[in-house]
């Protein structure tokens, strides 16, 4: 069995929680759940914002290490109405998880490694918005 752990940094009005530990083996499909928390009273745009001008939440991988894939699945967004928008906006707020699906490379060497990524987001509250920020995300893994 292999031991995976996930860790991430936080900045601005969004935090990434403690890593979820997952196990995998060569050739195995594994998922990593990235816990994210948005500060109370704030929201971030979902991965598919309601308007083109809004900056989406987006996780991208910068290095996969011995992993392959890394397809990201976002949770269902919330539709929330704010004073500054005519229609409800597609947002994430509170606590949620972003899931990344990997496959351990068939020729992955046994041992630990780290996949790294960036979570870009842009936060607002009911009447104020804050510049887009990026949180570093890292998935630590061990191939056995």
């Amino acid at each position: 069995m292999s031991l995976w752990s996930l860790s991430a940094q936080s900045s601005g009005h969004l935090k990434v929680g403690e890593p979820a530990k997952v196990a995998g083996a060569r050739g195995a499909a594994v998922e990593a759940k990235i816990p994210v928390t948005v500060d109370p009273g704030f929201h971030v745009n979902s991965n598919h914002p309601s308007d083109d001008y809004l900056i989406p939440l987006k996780l991208t991988w910068t290095s996969l290490g011995a992993l392959e894939g890394g397809e990201v699945t976002y949770p269902p967004p919330k539709l929330e109405k704010y004073e500054f928008a005519d229609k409800p906006l597609s947002v994430f707020s509170g606590a949620f998880s972003v899931t990344a699906s990997f496959k351990v490379a068939a020729n992955a060497p046994p041992g630990p490694g780290v996949a790294t990524g960036k979570l870009r987001y842009q936060a607002c509250n009911s009447n104020t918005c804050f510049p887009p920020k990026t949180a570093d995300v890292s998935v630590t893994y061990q191939v056995q």
Partner: protein, 196 residues
């Protein structure tokens, strides 16, 4: 421009006093949340480029009432206020009033110009930089809007989406006020938005 430094801007807005004096004039103006004249500090001068590449200084506008609006294209609340500012510009530009927008988009004119064209923005917009943002206390929260009196001093700060009436009343009050010379504040730090 990723280095806007976060500042507790609300504290400054809350720190501004209420101006309740009645102003004589033909238009009845409800007292706006303007800082008393003696407490106003000089707005920092800056040199930023407009869409035509011309360097614009805030000091070019001395003698006029100015709305200085820090905004960004990705900022929903900013998009609500901009049409208000367009109306104010249209109604008051012949009375010694100007709106100056300072766009804080990292992508600069590439995204700002299309936006201005789409909305038909009728006032001058500049591309902001970190230095200017720092001079104004960080300006991390958008919109952040300064009302500047005829002598170049900051009469009010609105952080976040404000009410249209607050802007209208504030501008009218400043337009009706005589352009008295500030007895203090020049050369001092204009605003300390950062509470940390």
């Amino acid at each position: 421009m990723s280095a806007f430094h976060f500042s507790a801007v609300l504290s400054t807005a809350l720190a501004l006093g209420l101006f309740t004096a009645g102003c004589g004039g033909s238009v009845e103006v409800k007292a706006a949340t303007l800082k008393p004249e003696k407490e106003r500090k000089t707005a920092p001068d800056f040199a930023l480029k407009d869409a035509a590449g011309k360097v614009v200084h805030l000091s070019d506008y001395r003698g006029k009432v100015v709305i200085l609006d820090f905004w960004a294209t990705w900022c929903g609340p900013c998009r609500i206020e901009i049409p208000w500012f367009m109306d104010l510009q249209r109604k008051n530009r012949d009375r010694g009033f100007e709106v100056l927008g300072v766009a804080m988009d990292d992508e600069g004119w590439e995204v700002v110009k299309p936006f201005l064209a789409e909305l038909g923005v009728n006032y001058r917009v500049l591309i902001g930089d970190d230095l200017t943002a720092q001079m104004y206390g960080g300006v991390d929260a958008l919109p952040t809007t300064f009302l500047i009196d005829k002598t170049g001093r900051i009469a009010a700060v609105h952080v976040g989406l404000a009410s249209r009436k607050d802007f209208e009343d504030g501008v009218e009050q400043l337009l009706q006020a005589p352009a008295t010379v500030a007895s203090s504040g020049a050369g001092e730090p204009v605003v300390s938005l950062g509470a940390k």
